[in-house]
């Protein structure tokens, strides 16, 4: 597995603008030291130095990730439409979701991207008026044939607002590991799994001394990483992120973006975001949705650099949104 880890080292390029002498040898860990006094707010390099230039009008940060090492198709969205009552929120969308890659859904508010995301683990079914047509496959099995609680452990989700449960850091993760409402499986037996989940979410260092700390007293960024740890604790195959950084400050956003890129080999990642720069920084493929339609699906560089569709071009250049 070690060899598959993508080289995502060029952090300096991202925040410092042009810096050509990337160090050779093993890739350093791309993580901002949290005690660093300077938040990485400068994600945007000088205008004009970015890659996209062919008239898309999009000026963005440098791409921070390299091409994926591999990609395996895990989910298949096949001609999916979602209706809320008479309103069609998602109109005949077809998309692949691949492990090893980050798929980003972008588009203006109300374009159906969150609805599409929520239908991937059947959360839309909780809205009584919602109705879905088309098929969504997880490893070639229609998800309607998978028991919802089982499906939602394979396809977990992180929400816009950090929402840890009102209990300790440890219990937040342990809750996921335990059987439904049970209190069984004692703390001791769960500890390795809890620590591993926290570690994968990059939170372990900060909380390992006080796992009994109330989760809701953590900072916003830590809370969101705890939510990611919680989602990872179920050992999912697909991780859905619904604007995970929109409630966070730039520094926490940075940490979470790094984390997402790091996770893409272990789980297939679908992220909904309002932030075009973010999509450009971390996504391998981008799907642009508008009023329920999938307007364009392409690799991030192509979609931002040279969009095929007029509406995409307008959206990424900031003509509307």
């Amino acid at each position: 597995m070690e060899s598959l880890t993508p080289d995502v080292s060029d952090f300096s390029l991202r925040i410092g603008g042009a810096k050509s002498d990337t160090p050779a040898g093993p890739p350093p860990i791309r993580r901002i030291p949290l005690e660093d006094p300077a938040p990485a707010t400068e994600a945007l390099p000088p205008v004009g130095s970015g890659q996209p230039s062919q008239g898309s009008g999009f000026t963005a940060a440098r791409r921070s990730i390299k091409a994926p090492q591999f990609s395996i198709r895990r989910m298949e969205i096949d001609n999916v439409s979602v209706f809320y009552g008479p309103k069609e929120a998602v109109k005949s969308v077809s998309l692949p979701v691949r492990q090893g890659e980050v798929l980003s859904l972008i588009g203006p508010s109300g374009c159906g991207k969150t609805t599409l995301l929520r239908s991937l683990n059947r959360l839309t079914e909780l809205t009584s008026s919602a109705r879905l047509s088309g098929r969504i496959l997880l490893d070639d099995v229609d998800i309607t044939e998978i028991e919802p609680t089982l499906l939602r452990r394979r396809v977990t989700m992180v929400f816009q607002q950090p929402n840890p449960f009102p209990m300790s850091v440890f219990d937040n993760i342990a809750y996921v590991l335990r059987e439904q409402g049970s209190r069984r499986a004692r703390k001791k037996t769960l500890e390795p799994a809890v620590l591993s989940a926290l570690d994968r979410a990059g939170l372990l260092e900060e909380v390992k001394d006080n796992l009994d700390h109330p989760a809701l007293k953590l900072s916003g960024g830590q809370q969101q990483r705890l939510c990611i740890a919680r989602a990872l604790a179920a050992e999912p195959e697909v991780l859905l992120l619904d604007e995970p950084c929109s409630a966070l400050d730039p520094k926490s956003t940075q940490v979470i973006e790094d984390l997402i890129v790091k996770l893409r080999d272990d789980v297939a990642i679908v992220i909904v975001t309002h932030n075009l720069q973010q999509a450009y920084r971390i996504a391998d493929h981008v799907a642009f949705m508008y009023l329920g339609d999938l307007v364009e699906y392409n690799s991030a560089t192509a979609l931002f650099g040279n969009p095929r569709e007029q509406r995409t071009r307008e959206y990424v250049s900031g003509a509307f949104g």
Partner: protein, 336 residues
Amino acid sequence: MQDIPLTVPPVPPPDQADPPGAHQRKGAVEGSATWSLSDRIGLAICWILGLLFCAIAVAIVVYLMIQGIKFLRPEMLWTPAAAGFSETQTGGFSDAFIGTMMVATLGIALALPTGIAIAVWLVEYGRPAALARITESTIEAIAGIPSIVLALFGTVIFSSTALGFLSRTTEGVVFGRSFFAAGAMLSLVALPLIVASVREGLNSIPRHVREASYAVGKTKAATTRRILLPTCRPQVATGAMLGLGRIIGDTAIIVVLLGATQNFAPVEGAGFPLDYLRGAGTTLTNFVYEASPTGNLNQPQKAYAAAFVLLLMVLALNAAVDVVHRRARKVGTWSH
């Protein structure tokens, strides 16, 4: 770890960033001097009414405390009432004190689980919608019914032969007055308060918190049990406290459904504790009523002593709820 080249100057610490005069602005409070006359009169009325309300509450508590401390003797709490010609011979009100505890326990034991269950069903399930609406209106109706009406209705129910096992029954005639009967009807008095409070608590939990639990494969039942209800602990406590307050404060149901005897009247041969629960009895509120100048006993000093005990019980309940709320604050809440 790699050094991060910085092109941005470090942000100055916040105290230096503050422009001069910022501190004065922070402390400034808008005065009412510039308000229109009607606004100022309104403000004055608010102040007067608020202070008056505080004064009344303080007066009640202080007066009862003075009277209570003057007349309350600890032995009253463990001496039952007795027949006699002077205050020294008539004993205390231990039966009433224990009776209050009994109806409170019975009432809340019935009302709390039912109330929580109803609130959970209304907020988390609530289907079919028509049934939910009917349930809501029913609860509101119960909240509006005077307890004396509930008591009257209770006599009809608990005097029926089928429920004879809940009270004294002599040769097929059901007495219909017992701790069981009073406790059951008193639980109806507490129920709407508990439902309202728990509903409020459940409604205040953001939707995405529930979904976060569903999104890791938890069922609705598990989410309710492990996330929602523990989060609502303060509201459950508040509801229980309000309910208990109503139960121990109620007199009408006690007079009509508990028999309002001066002492316990256990049913012989039923076996402890059923003999007491099936028998008639009294509570502190009834004792206060009887001991007041309008009652049969006419021992105002003991009425004050008993009222003081009631007041202490209510204050203790308030303090207990405070503790639950304070603990919940330590856990924190979501930003909205």
